[in-house]
């Protein structure tokens, strides 16, 4: 049994435990969502960056910035969701960026 718990096995267990901890955190102590865009932009950790600043700084790390008018609001929802996963953006930052993109049209 001990020999079965090799490094990948332990890593898998660690991932599962990490996920369970995340679920518990979300259920009992997770951050409360706010619908106010202003709150979102001023609540992105300690960085105190606006949605526009977050949009600029995160996007241009990899590619040229596309104008907010290039896509519809629904498309921006999907694109920023995709980029949140790809660029390890936090949920608060994602919401602030989406609010900025939608309000910039």
């Amino acid at each position: 049994m001990t020999s079965k718990l090799n490094r990948p096995g332990l890593a898998l267990i660690a991932l599962v435990l990490f996920a369970i901890a995340g679920f518990c955190w979300e259920a009992f102590a997770g951050p409360k969502k706010t619908s106010n865009a202003e709150n979102e932009s001023s609540n992105t950790g300690n960085m105190q960056l606006s949605g526009e600043e977050l949009w600029t700084m995160n996007c241009r790390q990899c590619h040229n910035i596309r104008p907010p008018t290039m896509y519809s609001n629904a498309q921006w929802d999907v694109i920023v969701h995709h980029m949140r996963v790809r660029a390890n953006i936090t949920g608060q930052e994602q919401r602030a960026i989406v609010e900025f993109l939608k309000s910039s049209k």
Binding site: F23, E53, N88
Partner: protein, 437 residues
């Protein structure tokens, strides 16, 4: 309008009464005068009239609140009641899920010394489907022209779930998180040169893997920490190919053993400086199960640094990417009895390589035409294990010039000085048109 006017009167009435009564109270001036009976009666009549009007407004309001009992009021301009259904109309038409196609298309011409020049083209759509605000499916397919027609390749197909603001779970086929170039910069509308660097692409690092992952980011003071950890099938150790023995086959999508690879990347992003530094790794047992190679372990590490920021002094933007990787496969003896014709070959496969790329775009000059140009310089190289079979050490220097027609559309030109160790040069001219969407 009439309705609003009535509401206005209803709210105005108490104020009006106060205004009227107060002066009447004040009518007890120092001279001892009082409001006359006639004035009192007039005020009383006015108050009664207003009271009556208020009651009629209340009745009308009650009638409006019961649509079944009365016909709909005539259109009187936009109101909250009429705007609300309009706002939700888009959701009703488009449904609750959201779908988007991104990706890019490109066409490249390459003229390389010692090789036949050729054109090539590919189409790389990315399908993004947001089933709920937390659940996303994303997949990329590469359609390219091969020798016998169209080649189709699944680049990634992954489901992700946003557990909370800082943790995302993913499962499926995804780009290797331990290799930041593949995950972030390989798309040709993002990669500034027509071709990709040695070592980190088609080289010594994984590109796409099948497994599960946990990833996300969280603020840490003025920075953001990024992380991604995964468990995957892992690579396969090549043991029977004389030109590639000891190397790793990353396209090992149906696993060759029960061991699973573990890898990931941790990065530190400083938004205010536009800088990010990261460390990626992966370890696995790539040998076939039940063979002498089953206990051979592979280990890879990668460090990267990325920066993009404006520079007033240079009147433009500087973009810097650097990544260096090391891989090691434990010592093993390939073709020990010589039955395959190249053994016994005993060695530990250690390889390393990486690239540095600097780009400058004069985004702050006054001439519009010049702002669309971008100059690029790249150095990349790949070292193979001494004594090992197969590929040759290679070092390249590349100069490129892009003209940006839009944020994701460019025409690129580059010249590459390529000098494989002990071989004639394979310098190349590269031209490319690319469009991201």
């Amino acid at each position: 309008m009439k309705k609003y006017f009535h509401h206005f009167l209803a709210h105005l009435m108490p104020v009006f009464i106060l205004c009227v009564l107060c002066p009447s109270a004040g009518a007890q001036d120092p001279e001892g005068g009082y409001v006359s009976r006639k004035e009192y009666e007039e005020l009383k009549q006015q108050m009664l009239a207003l009271k009556k009007e208020l009651e009629s407004i209340k009745k009308e309001k009650t009638a409006v609140a019961q649509p079944a009992a009365s016909p709909a009021p005539p259109a009187a301009g936009p109101s909250k009641e009429t705007v609300q259904p309009t706002a939700s109309l888009e959701d009703l038409v488009l449904g609750t899920t959201k779908f988007h196609i991104a990706g890019y298309a490109e066409s490249t011409f390459e003229a390389q010394n010692r090789n036949i020049s050729s054109f090539e083209a590919s189409f790389n759509p990315i399908f993004l489907w947001e089933l709920t605000p937390k659940l996303l499916f994303e997949s990329q397919i590469e359609l390219s022209l091969g020798e016998e027609g169209t080649d189709v390749e699944l680049e990634f197909a992954q489901m992700t779930y946003l557990l909370n603001d800082y943790i995302t779970l993913g499962v499926g086929e995804f780009l290797a998180r331990s290799n930041v170039f593949v995950e972030r910069f390989q798309a040709l509308w993002i990669n500034k040169l027509p071709d990709r660097p040695l070592a980190v692409y088609d080289g010594i690092l994984p590109e796409k893997i099948v497994g599960i992952e946990v990833r996300g980011g969280f603020p840490l003071g003025p920075t953001r920490t990024k992380y991604a950890f995964y468990v995957s099938n892992g690579p396969k150790l090549i043991t029977d190919d004389p030109s590639a023995a000891g190397m790793l086959d990353w396209d090992n999508f149906s696993d060759n053993n029960d061991d699973k690879a573990v890898g990931g990347r941790v990065g530190l992003f400083v938004p205010m400086l536009g800088m990010e530094a990261g460390y990626g790794f992966e370890t696995a047992k790539p040998g076939d199960q039940g063979t002498p190679f089953a206990h051979v372990r592979s280990w890879l590490q990668s460090v990267d640094f990325n920066m993009n920021r404006d520079c007033d002094f240079l009147k433009g933007a500087i973009d810097l990417h650097a990544q260096y990787a090391w891989t090691r496969v434990d010592h093993a003896v390939f073709d020990p009895d010589g039955s395959l014709g190249f053994g016994p070959l005993s060695f530990s496969n250690k390889r390393d390589g990486g690239y540095v790329q600097v780009a400058y775009r004069p985004t702050k000059v006054d001439v519009d035409f010049l702002r669309n140009f971008e100059g690029i310089f790249r150095w990349d190289h790949l070292n193979h294990a001494p004594g090992g079979p197969g590929a040759i050490d290679e070092e390249r220097w590349t100069l490129g010039l892009d003209y940006w027609l839009g944020p994701s559309t460019a025409i690129k030109a580059a010249y590459e000085w390529d000098k494989p160790h002990g071989q004639p040069n394979t310098n190349a001219v590269l031209l490319q048109a690319v469009m991201g969407f």
